[in-house]
């Protein structure tokens, strides 16, 4: 059985020159994954955004000022995944068949050690009980369970969609999913087609080819955690934003 199952490395490439920061990926993510809306007291630091679009700029004066929008979700690190090794009770693992890093709310005890470990702050804690306006809970996505207060959550490449694709394939007697059936919500929603998603281990796939581009870079690559989310930009200053050598200067960036 093991033999038959193909091993994939799902990942994405995000073209920062195409992203115009409309935030459709964030909304799509929230809708797909039953992420509750904010309580009044919630702010930028306590929000729940498995996909979050950050703003950065070349911090030069008008009109030379340029902005770049950087969508950041879990980077699904492949090598000694920081969050996985620290979780005391195996609520985090890396799926050997997909390379997707999981976060199981039912197992999580909310110690938040994984959040301290995550270099890109892509993990979010449920500070509040999830709550929707009366009646709106009927619009929740049946394929995703709602997280309770006191646990950590993060992007899992819309795994429920992968499951659906698997089930569809299985019903047809196959173990291979049709790539067209598995597209994460953020990828599907991006109006500029800035996000390419697919199996990095398939050298022919668009995502694998894009990842090989000379404009491709990853966030904090030097930490050696082998993220599976790549970014593209023709602008040198943008590519430099991915580095770990945080300079005071680069932090003068205005954040919206």
């Amino acid at each position: 059985m093991v033999g038959e199952e193909r091993v994939a490395r799902y990942g994405m490439v995000i073209d920062l020159d195409r992203c115009n920061g409309c935030g459709a990926c964030m909304t799509a993510c929230a809708v797909e994954n039953n992420i509750p809306p904010a309580q009044p007291r919630v702010n930028e630091r306590t929000g729940l955004t498995s996909m979050r679009v950050h703003r950065a700029s070349n911090h030069r004066g008008f009109p030379d000022h340029e902005e770049v929008f950087i969508p950041i979700s879990c980077q699904h690190c492949g090598e000694h995944t920081p969050c996985m090794s620290v979780c005391p009770q195996n609520a985090v693992d890396v799926n050997p068949l997909t390379g997707v890093v999981s976060q199981i709310p039912a197992r999580c005890l909310g110690c938040r050690y994984c959040m301290a470990a995550c270099p890109v702050h892509a993990r979010y804690f449920n500070w509040f009980d999830p709550e929707w306006p009366e009646g709106m809970e009927r619009t929740l996505n049946p394929d995703v369970s709602v997280r309770m207060r006191g646990v950590v959550e993060k992007c899992n490449f819309c795994h429920s969609r992968y499951q659906a694709a698997k089930a569809k394939a299985a019903a047809a007697g196959s173990r291979e999913i049709d790539p067209a059936d598995y597209v994460p919500a953020c990828v599907e929603a991006c109006p500029s087609g800035a996000i390419v998603f697919g199996d990095l281990s398939d050298p022919e796939s668009d995502v694998a080819l894009a990842a090989k581009s000379s404009d491709a870079f990853r966030l904090l690559e030097s930490l050696g955690t082998d993220p599976k989310v790549y970014y593209l930009s023709e602008r040198e200053w943008v590519r430099r934003l991915g580095g770990a050598d945080v300079t005071r200067d680069s932090l003068e960036v205005h954040r919206g």
Binding site: E5, V92, A106, H159, A170, A171
Partner: protein, 195 residues
């Protein structure tokens, strides 16, 4: 002669053991009657000759229909075929007003668990009985035993409180799933069964 305090100690222990083994299990589960009685035996038997799949079907897209909706019963039961009280109730209080029957599901998995029938039926070629037992031959629907604290059906935990003497296909806890997966050398990870 045994010292008094030993006796007292033993007494306390005995009481605790009795409570823990006999009273507690009864206290832990509440039993809820099904809204309606239904005989799988009759429907599967010669007279009707249905198969599991006729009511619990697997769709094109791999989604499992679960329990049949009322419109599946309606065609045959527009008005009572026999003289059973239950059928009368079915027709009068469900079919005619076209209301869904609020069945209680024995094998309902928790919200955080993901289970797809498709791979188990088609790829692994499991039979219904292997997990659901001889449910298809039952003549009545037993009441649902529901855990007062968790709300789970007793079937998830299994009959035996210690889970040592669980029969084949009894118990639907994570450990049961993964032990079967281990036997069949299925490579699994958290997200295989959790959503």
């Amino acid at each position: 002669m045994i010292p008094r305090n030993y006796l007292v100690f033993a007494l306390g222990m005995a009481a605790a053991l009795a409570g823990g083994w006999l009273a507690f299990p009864r206290a832990l589960y509440r039993t809820v009657e099904q809204p309606l009685q239904f005989s799988h035996a009759v429907h599967v038997g010669e007279s009707v000759g249905m198969a599991c799949q006729d009511c619990h079907s697997l769709a094109e897209d791999g989604r499992f229909s679960g329990l049949p909706k009322i419109d599946l019963c309606a065609p045959c039961h527009t008005d009572p075929m026999g003289d059973s009280e239950n059928e009368k109730k079915l027709v009068e209080s469900y079919v005619i007003p076209n209301v869904e029957i609020p069945w209680l599901v024995y094998a309902r998995q928790p919200e955080n668990a993901y289970f797809a029938h498709a791979p188990h039926l088609v790829l692994a070629e499991l039979t219904c009985e292997q997990c659901h037992g001889p449910h298809g031959e039952t003549d009545t629907l037993r009441p649902l035993e529901q855990n007062r604290i968790t709300g789970y059906s007793r079937d998830i935990w299994g009959r035996s409180l210690t889970r040592v003497r669980n029969a084949e296909g009894e118990g639907m806890k994570m450990s049961d799933c993964s032990s079967c997966h281990r036997d069949r050398r299925v490579r699994e990870s958290c997200l295989t069964c959790h959503k």
